[in-house]
Amino acid sequence: MENTKKIQELLMNAIFEVFEKMFFVFLEPLDEDVKYEMIASINFIGPIKGDIDVFFTRDLASAMVQNMLGVDEVGVNLKLIEDCAKEAVNMIGGNFLQKYDSSKVFDLSIPVFKNESGVFATQEIAASETVWNLSFESNESLLGVKMSIS
């Protein structure tokens, strides 16, 4: 249980760092389901292996592109959204693993992007000790992150 809490803290810190440094997006933890419009996923192999899925609303993904590239809303397109979403999950994975154990080598997969919508139910499987479901809010835009480790 202690370890589960520690991993969640590391994951949250990794997420905050990535969004603040690269996308100038300041997230607040939230305890709500996220109606997402796109997903970016990555998996990693090493001393531990697992998957990370990041669930974005279009608003948040658009804000990330605008902030990162310094463009206005007109300059945002799906290709740039895909790039930023994949970079985000890649950096969350790398940053989390470095915080988890920087002395070990982990191999990250190439991130995958899906332009599909659904509901990320934070509450449903949050109790598991190998799955972490987190949701965040920034300026009324929502973000969900799911990490599972095996």
Binding site: E17, M22, D83, E87, G93
Partner: protein
């Protein structure tokens, strides 16, 4: 003194950000060339001379470490300094990159200052364009 820079990353957005940071860092950039992976980088290098390469590691087709190996095998290209910019920041992975010939390492997420600092170290130029010889030994570099 102006420089030709090659940025290698499979993300258009990341290449644009790196280009912007290098530009605002005050480096006199002549050409900024771009490639989406190691194989494309070699194609660019076959037709253009560059002074420094900034490359991601985790890319499809040919990753950044494989690119380092290819550069090392080529008499003309092996002296070009390469800065790796990546999310994979384990000390072992960094050592591996340095062994394969990387001259600098930047971890994502990064601040503009991180790129500026490593560029200074690797190409030995200050922001006002003055050349500064790098007299450090490998042991003195920040891993």
């Amino acid at each position: 003194m102006s420089f030709n820079v090659l940025i290698v990353d499979d993300s258009n957005a990341m290449r644009a950000v790196i280009k912007k940071i290098v530009t605002i860092s005050g480096f006199q950039m002549d050409q900024c060339l771009q490639a989406g992976n190691g194989r494309e980088a070699l194609e660019v290098l076959a037709e253009n001379w560059v002074d420094v390469i900034i490359s991601d590691i985790n890319m499809p087709e040919m990753n950044g470490l494989e690119l380092l190996d290819q550069l090392k095998k080529n008499e003309t290209l092996k002296e070009i300094p390469v800065i790796m910019i990546t999310t994979e920041g384990s000390s072992e992975r960094m050592q591996e990159a340095f062994k394969r010939g990387a001259k600098g390492f930047i971890k994502k997420p990064f601040l503009p200052e991180d790129i500026r600092k490593v560029l200074h170290q690797v190409i030995g130029v200050s922001e006002n364009g003055e050349y500064k010889e790098d007299t450090r030994t490998t042991d003195e570099c920040d891993f």
